[in-house]
């Protein structure tokens, strides 16, 4: 591993579960090193004492371990050869194929100048009405699923990835179970789209701290395709909660004072650096884009935990899945889900009535929820309440369920049909001009 001119250090002065320290000089911040062959990165320098974060963990590292500094920050070789390949957190192939040749770029590179970005304006259709109608996705957006670990988020995400009209899909798997890893691999292979997909995978079998490299690796590859090849890239990151947990482990080992929920004080900036790689480039810069769909698993639906809370402030909305017991299906929850960029395309790239229909339907669905509470508390229901409940059931089944696969115009037509079936125009509260045009008589 060590080249002739590289100096080898052999005196480790301190070892924790995730870090080790040694006396060394001429070392740069963020620089990579190997400790007895294990990859590590400089996280702190104080005088001649250097602290390294060892990605694989420090098990078995002796006090006389050989430390070699590599003189560079973590990097990835990028080229079209990335397509169709599976890599580990270091960017080394795990599919038995050859190493990728190409330009070596540092991962975790600089941010895009905000004035050089373009406002996202391209709709990403998924066929899932709970997303396309109520929470339309836009290229250049970043949005997570907030889901409990038992929900089928990986399946929904795989569906979205396959249906979305994009040039490349980059999967960043952090702490994926081996089963989920194989699931993604099979789904992509069966759909015959493997050549559009690049995967960086850290499974639960790999060391936790390695996960810290996954998002930056995936996004370095995404930036290559979006910036240099002007492609539309979709990045899937699952599961970001496990990423944040790994951050907490390292900060804990470095004796940093934890802030909320034992997370490092810099959690917001750390997550923002990843999510803000989502971008739509203007035509002058080739028109490529990076869209990020992530998963943040929750503990018992608790969104006040530091990870989902900070995420919610960074991402452009969030999607929730929920099992609707009335229809026995998983739906995209219309109350809590939100795509903040939807107004950039709703009614502009879709039919004019989209925004109002979307809001009216959700409002009626909320009235149904109130009616349901009334019913559960043993009160008599009004005629309106009953109509809302019937509406809600059909709306849930035909629009919100995740097994729906139709285009937005069909979604809107179904909504108008449901309005006309259950309500009078004045109960729907939509602009008169739209009612005149679309109300199904």
């Amino acid at each position: 591993m060590a080249k002739a001119f590289q100096k080898i250090f052999t005196e480790i002065t301190a070892i924790t579960k995730a870090t080790c320290s040694l006396k060394a000089e001429g070392v740069g911040n963020d620089e990579l090193a190997t400790v007895n062959g294990k990859l590590a990165q400089v996280v702190k320098i104080m005088g001649d004492e250097v602290t390294l974060q060892v990605f694989q963990g420090t098990e078995g590292i002796p006090t006389n371990a050989e430390v070699v500094f590599l003189g560079k920050a973590p990097s990835l070789k990028v080229s079209d050869q990335l397509a169709g390949r599976f890599f580990n957190a270091y960017g080394d192939p795990i599919d038995g194929g050859p190493a990728v040749e190409g330009e070596e770029v540092e991962i975790g590179g600089p941010s895009v100048n905000p004035v050089r970005r373009k406002q996202p304006s391209e709709l990403i259709a998924t066929g899932i009405a709970g997303i396309d109608l109520n929470n339309t996705l836009v290229s250049g957006q970043k949005i997570p699923f907030f889901a409990d670990p038992d929900q089928p988020y990986n399946q929904v995400m795989a569906n979205v990835a396959l249906r979305a009209q994009v040039d490349k899909i980059i999967l960043g798997g952090m702490g994926l179970t081996n089963d989920d890893y194989l699931y993604f691999k099979n789904v992509f292979a069966n759909a015959g789209v493997l050549d559009r997909i690049v995967s960086f995978v850290n499974t639960t079998e790999n060391p936790a701290v390695e996960r810290l490299l996954i998002p930056d690796m995936a996004l370095a590859a995404a930036e290559y395709f979006a910036v240099q090849k002007h492609q539309k890239v979709l990045v899937l990151l699952t599961d970001m909660t496990l990423y944040a947990d790994a951050l907490a482990i390292v900060s804990n080992r470095m004796d940093q004072i934890p802030s909320k929920d034992s997370m490092p004080g810099s959690l917001y900036s750390d997550l923002a650096k990843i999510y803000e790689k989502a971008v739509q480039f203007p035509e002058e810069a080739g028109g490529g884009s990076i869209t990020i769909i992530a998963v943040t698993t929750l503990s018992g639906g608790d969104i006040t935990h530091a990870i989902p809370d900070n995420t919610g402030y960074i991402t452009e909305g969030q999607l929730y899945l929920r099992r609707d017991s009335d229809i026995g299906k998983v739906i995209v929850d219309p109350f809590r889900s939100l795509s903040r960029l939807k107004q950039l395309v709703a009614g502009k790239k879709t039919r004019e009535d989209h925004p109002q229909v979307m809001n009216a339907a959700v409002r009626l669905y909320a009235d149904a929820a109130n009616a349901k509470t009334k019913m559960e508390n043993g009160f008599d229901l009004t005629d309106y309440d009953n109509r809302c409940l019937d509406f809600a059931k059909e709306y849930s089944n035909r629009i919100l369920a995740i097994d729906v696969n139709i285009n937005t115009t069909e979604m809107l037509d179904i909504a108008w049909e449901l309005f006309a079936t259950y309500f009078k125009p004045e109960e729907v509260n939509i602009k008169q001009a739209l009612v005149d045009k679309y109300w199904k008589k």
Binding site: E25, G26, V27, G28, N29, E31, V43, K44, I45, M46, G47, D48, A73, P110, S111, V112, N113, P114, V115, R116, R117, K118, Q119, P120, G140, V227, Q256, I257, P258, S259, K260, P264, G265, Y268, S269, A272, E276, K277, A278, I303, T304, H305, G312, Y313, E316, F335, R340, Q343, N359, A366, K374, N377, F379, T382, D383, Y384, E426, N429, K431, Q432
Partner: protein, 587 residues
């Protein structure tokens, strides 16, 4: 100047050994890498021989022994004509002048145009006695009277020795020579510098704000008005329409200068501002809104230390324009991100943490910042104002957290965005009962508003709030007792509060007409709605009540969507009158 060498590095906190004196908050440049790229940094702590600086950029590759040069001054902004319609980062670098798609570290630029000629008109005359912030002359900056002032750093009284004649000058040309009391001459140009963390105090007095700042948003102007020079804050759990509300205010408010500080927020939101503002017509001048706007953008992925600086940079620019006798609206989104930047640094310096790991003096820092806003009488008797609206992003929507609590102590208006309202698409999702404006209690404000609208206005507003409060109480009773468990009157009263909610409080920010509601129209609608509330109606049962009021709401909403006093508007008004006549009991 003092020199130093890097001794230690943890993320963007760098320890430096120095060879001379340094001062707290002094700016230094650290050379990194083979090209000796210079990274800007600020002194934040000194212990013994260790000087701690926070670097405004990534410290990747920085090594022990790298050179550090200290500059002898604090973080400053450059003030002069040409600030308007620019997009700066938190350190006042002109983002449009930076090359490349990605931000390169160590690339800094001069924030103004040194070559542009400005048409200067002198105001002061030779022999005039002047002091800091006195107006020497004026240039036309995008149709705003940009005053050229005696630099704020000049203490004491000076005599104008000479001043250039009207004509075209560059910002660095000497436009006046001032003589101090010792007889020394000082050349004054159109550009000056000021350290961002110090308030500009060159004014005579700062009275309590009393003038309504019209925003065209009914839930603000009617229900909880903010004053020119006032302070307010908007907390919002994410997804409650905070940004939409903030944009609406900045587009519509009666201000001369709008400064938007995008502090640690999403880049796509900033892009929305960058994209939309140049397109927006200014309702007050008929030109473009961007002409009188400055955007300070430090998005969440940009370096955390310059995020902290960005709010101060924005405030200092706001104070500069206030000194010219202009009305400045400063919006910062979000002050929680600023507080988090403070927390990150405090954490790295291993300070003992306060609540939620924020620094102990957080509430004092927030208080001192809000105190820089205000309506002022300048030394020449003219007035100027900085109205400050900040957003907070409370963790998990819990308002009992240090940033919200610290802000609540100092901000005079509170616009409580509420998740439940947002879930029901009742936008703007400002809770009418929890929100408040302290200004409505000021006698100065009451006097002002009597002159502007009428002396019954505040009474009507208070009455409207009482209806809302009562409506909420009744709703809770109905939820407990059931629709049949309360008298029909209760339903009537509840639905009157719903009329207020739907017609006055709710407003469609995406509808061309409803988005902006001028004061005259707000007055008309409030009178209309209060008229509906004051009447008694004949109902047989609660179902009739619900059905009837839904029809009323629908007609009123259609009025909100129609041009004021247009044919459509009057038609809906007529239909509404007919509908009211059906059930109203004549007094």
């Amino acid at each position: 100047m003092t020199q130093g060498k890097v001794k230690g590095i943890i993320a963007n906190l760098v320890t430096v050994a120095v060879d001379g004196p340094v001062s707290q908050n002094e700016i230094a440049y650290i050379s990194v890498g083979a090209n000796a790229t210079k990274l800007m940094a600020e002194v934040i702590k000194v212990t013994g021989e260790n000087v701690y600086v926070q670097v405004f950029e990534s410290t990747r590759g920085l090594k022990v022994g790298d050179n550090v040069e200290f500059t002898g001054h604090m973080l400053e902004v450059t003030l002069g004509p040409g600030l308007l319609s620019r997009n700066y980062d938190g350190l006042q670098n002109d983002l449009d002048k930076l090359t490349g798609v990605f931000l390169k570290r160590g690339e800094y630029n001069f924030p103004l145009d040194k070559e542009k000629l400005w048409k200067f008109e002198p105001i002061a005359k030779v022999g005039d006695q002047v002091e800091a912030a006195a107006w020497l002359g004026e240039v036309d900056e995008n149709h705003q009277p940009h005053k050229i002032m005696v630099p704020f750093v000049m203490e004491g009284t000076y005599t104008v020795k000479s001043i250039v004649a009207a004509g075209e000058y560059k910002i660095e040309d000497t436009i006046a020579v001032l003589t101090d009391q010792e007889g020394n001459d000082h050349n004054v140009t159109m550009v000056q510098k000021w350290p961002v963390k110090k308030a500009i105090l060159a004014y005579k007095s700062k009275p309590r704000p009393f003038k309504l700042l019209e925003t065209g948003v009914r839930t603000i102007d009617t229900a909880n008005p903010i004053c020119e020079g006032g302070t307010g804050f908007i907390p919002g759990p994410f997804g409650t329409g905070k940004t939409v509300l903030q944009h609406a205010i900045s587009k519509q408010a009666e201000a001369d200068i709008v400064i938007i500080a995008a502090c640690g927020e999403r880049a796509n939101e900033v892009v929305e501002t960058f994209t939309e503002f140049p397109e927006l017509d200014d309702p007050h001048t008929g030109r473009k809104l961007m002409e009188r706007t400055i955007i300070i953008a430090n998005t969440s992925n940009m370096p955390v230390a310059s995020r902290e600086a960005s709010v101060y940079t924005s405030m200092t620019i706001a104070e500069y324009y206030r000194s010219m006798g202009l009305r400045v609206l400063l919006m910062a989104d979000s002050t929680s991100r600023w507080a988090q930047a403070l927390r990150e640094m405090s954490n790295r310096m291993e300070e003992l943490p306060g609540q939620d790991a924020f620094p102990m003096d957080l509430s004092a820092i927030i208080g001192a910042f809000y105190a820089r806003a205000g309506y002022v009488y300048l030394n020449n008797g003219k007035t100027g104002s900085v109205t400050f609206l900040g957003t907070v992003s409370p963790a998990g929507g819990n308002l009992k957290e240090p940033v919200t609590e610290g802000t609540k102590k100092v901000a005079r208006c509170f616009y409580a965005l509420e998740q439940a309202r947002a879930d029901h698409k009742r936008y703007p999702a400002v809770n009418p009962i929890d929100s408040y404006s302290k200004y409505i209690e000021y006698p100065e404000f009451a006097e002002y508003i009597s002159g502007l609208i009428d002396d019954k206005w505040i009474g009507k507003v208070v009455e409207m709030k009482t209806y809302l409060q009562r409506g909420k109480e009744i709703q809770e009773q109905i939820n407990i007792l059931g629709d049949d468990g309360v008298p029909v009157d209760y339903h009537e009263e509840f639905w009157k509060s719903e009329v207020i909610d739907f017609v006055i409080l709710q407003q469609d920010a995406f509808d061309k007409i409803d988005a902006v509601c001028p004061l005259e129209r707000q007055r008309y609608m409030l009178d209309l709605v209060m008229g509906i509330c004051h009447s008694d109606y004949n109902f047989d049962n609660f179902l009739d009540v619900i059905d009837y009021f839904k029809r009323i709401i629908n007609l009123c909403k259609q009025m909100n969507y129609s041009e004021f006093h247009s044919e459509d508007f009057e038609n809906y008004q007529k239909k509404l009158n007919e509908l009211l006549a059906e059930k109203q009991i004549k007094a």
